[in-house]
Amino acid sequence: MDKNKIEGLQFLATKVREHIITMSADGGCFIGASLSCADLIVYLYSEFLNITPNNLTDSERDYLFLSKGHDVPALYGTLAELGFIEKKRLSNHLSTTDSIYWHPNRAVPGVEYHSGSLGHLPSVGIGVAMDCKMKKQTNRIVVIVGDGEMNEGTFWEALLVANAYKLDNLIILVDRNHFQANIRTEDLIPLESLEKKFEAFNCSVNRINGHDFEEIDAAFKGLKQGTGKVNVIVADTLRGKGLPSIEARADRWFCNFTREETNALIRELHGEMKAKIESETLTVR
């Protein structure tokens, strides 16, 4: 991947992070989990997925399912930057005049399916992948799951079924940000070794740095169809990535900042001094 392309992706990811930060006031959002997978979503829409504002009803398009759901500000930011929705809609976040709220809503163009209850969209993705296979289409179906989400039994149940049907058009992308809601995964329900678990389920597994566009690109460009194996990419990420004042902190899960704080966080994103955060942000949603 050439330098210009990487810089372009980084520029877009920064724009998306600005949107995420902006959405974390006036009611707030799940900022940490959105920042952790912003680079992945930006990459997928820019370089990998055949999804455009003009092909959303085309049966040959690719599919992206946000199963973890809390990351939807990252998707909305990306959709706004890439012309799927108007940027001004983002300022309607949480307003009854629009339909943009804390979890994905498929009424918004570009959102493939709603989510919010964990461990659901791997199975919905299986249904789509099965139909694409039946119709001999080569669409790719990417399902982004959170690591905390993998506590849900239905995640593993879905892997069993996907393997039984050899769904090599299905790509499970794990946003491995190392946090459940408010506790580190390894301190509550340990997940490691993830590669061994996925290999035991007969998946084709790759583990990458989810903030390194070259590694992300190599992993996705390296995917092959016809292997008969479900693809899993475990992307190690940092919750709150881009904002050192909230990165990898258990209490920065759902955040509802003041406008002064989000303005300071946007400056922090651009490398200026760390923001001073006084808002109580350990909010249970």
């Binding site: 049966s59 498929r106 399916y113 709603h114 209850s117 659901h120 969209l121 791997p122 199975s123 919905v124 993705g125 299986i126 249904g127 789509v128 992948a129 099965m130 139909d131 694409c132 296979k133 039946m134 239905t154 149940e157 879905a158 069993l160 079924v161 039984a164 049907y165």
Partner: protein
């Protein structure tokens, strides 16, 4: 024609239909070789099956999914509500051995709250055919409807020749001024026999095979409430949330009331045994239905006087 033959014919003529099961193949054993890839067995995974059905429906398919009614409606309930219900996808949920049909399995297998919980999902249709002939008569319309649906599968052979099915309409077997028996599913058979016993005793007896519990045939029931002295609801379901509750909601909405005697399961699971023994133990034989009805009718008449 059997359920399997009918569904096979429908699927052969409509590429949109996919038949799914959570390894409950009893009624669809011959379909894999006929449907090929359009037969999908996900193993013992009711939740994943329902989620995958939603995905298939997103792609334009009509999944007809099969599992034991209790596991389909309860274990996978949230998948039904969230992945099928919120998007109003045309997934057809076929529950095997609902109600008393789980006979000796025990309470784990007793789907006797299924009508209650499924009808609570916006847009979900709920059907309960009286026997296999009724089921196959209703099947094309149930599949053709653009809504999600739950079907209390009942493939027992019946002797009654059912009329054509009109979507959302009940089947009126007879009308009566004294008593009207309202029932659905397998209890139709014994209700039909109870009706004969009651008529022999000189009562004017109506009998309705409801077929569709949601939508319910509202107009018919309101007319019956006006024209009959006593309605008896006969169901293999908890009293809460089933037909008795449906009537209560309907009458309250229309600001009317009437005498209703419910035969339903009250705050307990039923005694597990072979079906005929269950029907005897739980007092759903034709004789017991008639006996309870007469006792209630006579009490009602006393009250009326």
């Amino acid at each position: 024609m059997t359920y399997e033959e009918t569904l096979t014919e429908l699927a052969k003529n409509d590429e949109r239909i996919v038949v799914m099961t959570a390894e409950n193949r009893a009624l669809i054993r011959n379909m894999p070789k006929i449907l090929g890839e359009r037969f999908i067995d996900t193993g013992i995974t009711e939740q994943t099956m329902v989620g995958a059905a939603a995905g298939l429906a997103l792609r334009g398919r009509i999944p007809v999914v099969h599992a034991l009614a209790s596991f389909l409606t309860m274990r996978a309930f949230e998948f039904i509500r969230t992945d099928v219900g919120i998007s109003h996808l045309p997934v057809k949920l076929c529950g095997y051995i609902p109600g008393f049909l789980s006979d000796a399995n025990g309470p784990t297998h007793q789907a006797i709250e299924d009508v209650s919980i499924l009808r609570g999902i916006p847009g979900m249709e709920v059907y309960a055919p009286a026997d296999e002939q009724d089921l196959v008569t209703m099947l094309p319309a149930m599949i053709e409807s653009p809504s999600p649906a739950y079907i209390r599968i009942n493939h027992r052979k019946g002797e009654y020749q059912h009329k054509a099915y009109i979507p959302g309409k009940a089947e009126v077997i007879s009308s009566g001024n004294d008593i009207t028996l309202l029932t659905y599913g397998l209890l139709f058979e014994n209700s039909l026999k109870a009706k004969a016993l009651l008529e022999k005793e000189g009562y004017s007896v109506g009998l309705v095979n409801l077929r569709s519990l949601k939508p319910i045939d509202e107009e018919l029931i309101l007319n019956i409430a006006n024209e009959t002295d006593l309605i008896v609801t006969i169901e293999d379901h908890f009293l809460t949330g089933g037909l008795y509750s449906i009537l209560a909601e309907l009458f309250l909405k229309n600001k009317i009331t009437c005498n209703v005697f419910p035969m339903a399961l009250r705050e307990r699971w039923f005694k597990p045994a072979l079906l005929n023994d269950v029907l005897a133990f739980e007092e759903y034989t034709p004789e017991k239905i008639a006996e309870h009805t007469i006792r209630e009718f006579e009490n009602t008449l006393v009250t009326l006087k």
